[in-house]
Symmetry: C2
Subunit: 267 residues, 2 copies
């Protein structure tokens, strides 16, 4: 390609100089405008930019809950999602959410009865499964519960650092912390082990799916559990989750905080 480029350029120059005395205007234009490699490069850059815009727009639709339930990321956005998750953008987005949540937590005057609650989801909220998803196409592969449960069984998921900071802040401020996860009751042991390994401690409740909760949509299951909290006299002042099904439904929190997650969707 380099040789062809040089050859083409050389031919153009020869052509340009051989006609210089006739009409220089005619010659200047093709030299600048019709150099084909530049056009190809520009077209390539434009299509990369266009894909970036399209995938950004898809992520906007994910994060605003505009999409109907989806099972895998669009194949053309595979590189985009990988770059987002592994680069600075995901971390900055996480930090921005935690900072907002922390500012709100500090601004709230808690009552003295100890019934003010902050609810946290676990996966992609407190613990990061990025080591697992990096081996499974960052959401490009259809979710494989058997493989994922093997990963969960290792209790090795690292903390999301900005969430750990928020977690410690709200505990210190006097909130009760309830962990509400879609994980199964059978996984209680490994979940506790993983949370402690990752630096989380002193939660007040850890609520997992009991046998009667299996098959329920997450929005329903989590709403029911929040309803129970409210019936027990708790006030849910804050709720952090990476899925809208963590945050919407009934007995919703006074403020909800949506963490980024373009890798998967839980209805």
């Amino acid at each position: 390609m380099g040789f062809l480029r040089f050859f083409f350029l050389f031919s153009l120059f020869s052509f340009a100089f051989s006609h210089e005395s006739l009409n220089s205007h005619v010659l200047r234009r093709p030299l600048i405008i019709q150099y084909p490699e530049n056009i190809i490069e520009n077209q390539f850059k434009e299509s990369v930019d266009e894909l970036q815009l399209q995938c950004n727009s898809w992520r906007f639709a994910v994060e605003t809950n505009n999409l109907s339930p989806w099972k895998a990321i669009p194949p053309e956005c595979a590189g985009y999602v990988k770059d987002y998750m592994m680069g600075r953008a995901y971390r900055i987005d996480l930090e921005t959410v935690s900072k907002e949540a922390g500012d709100y937590a500090k601004s709230v005057k808690l009552s003295e009865d100890g019934n003010d609650v902050w609810v946290f989801d676990i996966d992609e909220t407190l613990l990061s499964n990025l080591p697992y998803y990096s081996e499974h196409g960052y959401g490009l592969e259809i979710f494989d519960s058997v493989e994922f449960d093997k990963w969960v069984g290792k209790a090795m998921a690292p903390p999301i650092e900005s969430s750990l900071k928020l977690y410690e802040e709200v505990l210190k401020l006097g909130f009760k912390v309830f962990l509400l996860t879609g994980r199964s009751e059978i996984q209680r042991g490994v979940t506790v082990e993983n949370l402690i390994n990752a630096g989380f401690q002193d939660w007040d409740k850890l609520i997992l799916r009991a046998s009667e909760d299996h098959g329920k949509l997450a929005t329903m299951y989590k709403s029911e559990k929040r309803n129970e909290m409210v019936e027990e006299g708790y006030r849910i002042l804050g709720n952090s989750g990476d899925q809208w099904s963590d945050l919407l439904g009934s007995s919703t929190s006074i403020r909800s905080f949506k963490l980024p997650n373009p890798m998967y969707y839980i209805p």
Copy 2:
């Protein structure tokens, strides 16, 4: 700066060639790595990239409703918001939302009683006030209701094309279309005029704030109006709005569609 750069480069070359016979390895490195203007350019590029990431993250927080009520965009993101609103990204985001909404609308089986409703907000949902905001810093200036009402009075806001397309689609499918806006009842005349000028017609209701609605938060006012629709026997299947206060609260729609708007926030 250009002169200094040339001078520095010239000095390096002189230095390089004068010592060429001694140790070429020593000389090649400073020529490539320590050229200080490159460092400054890189640092500038890095800080531009960092600002882009921070403003992107702020926009993510806006669109996911993670922020507490805000009155103006962050000054450091003024250029970012302008570029977003005037460039392809805003249009693509609008088109993505409308496409999703249209796909959903087509997938719904409507009942025969004619009580299936799609609710549309007006400003930044059907009509674009970008001509106004482009004269007022794209959200950098604190909202000036007197100036804005003058603009509304002109009835000149253009349609958001992708929303007009959706609007016509849902009408054709047989939905009743209810327009629910935070504009005042006094502005009914100019609002109807503007909607028609922009190509909107055949809506079933146009609901504006009556005198008793002034001072209510938008979430409350819009929830009350949706409650009334439900009490009258309507089923709200779709709702399009650029503010979360268009979409959240009570009698929420089966599916809600959040249009992008990083310029202002209505609680």
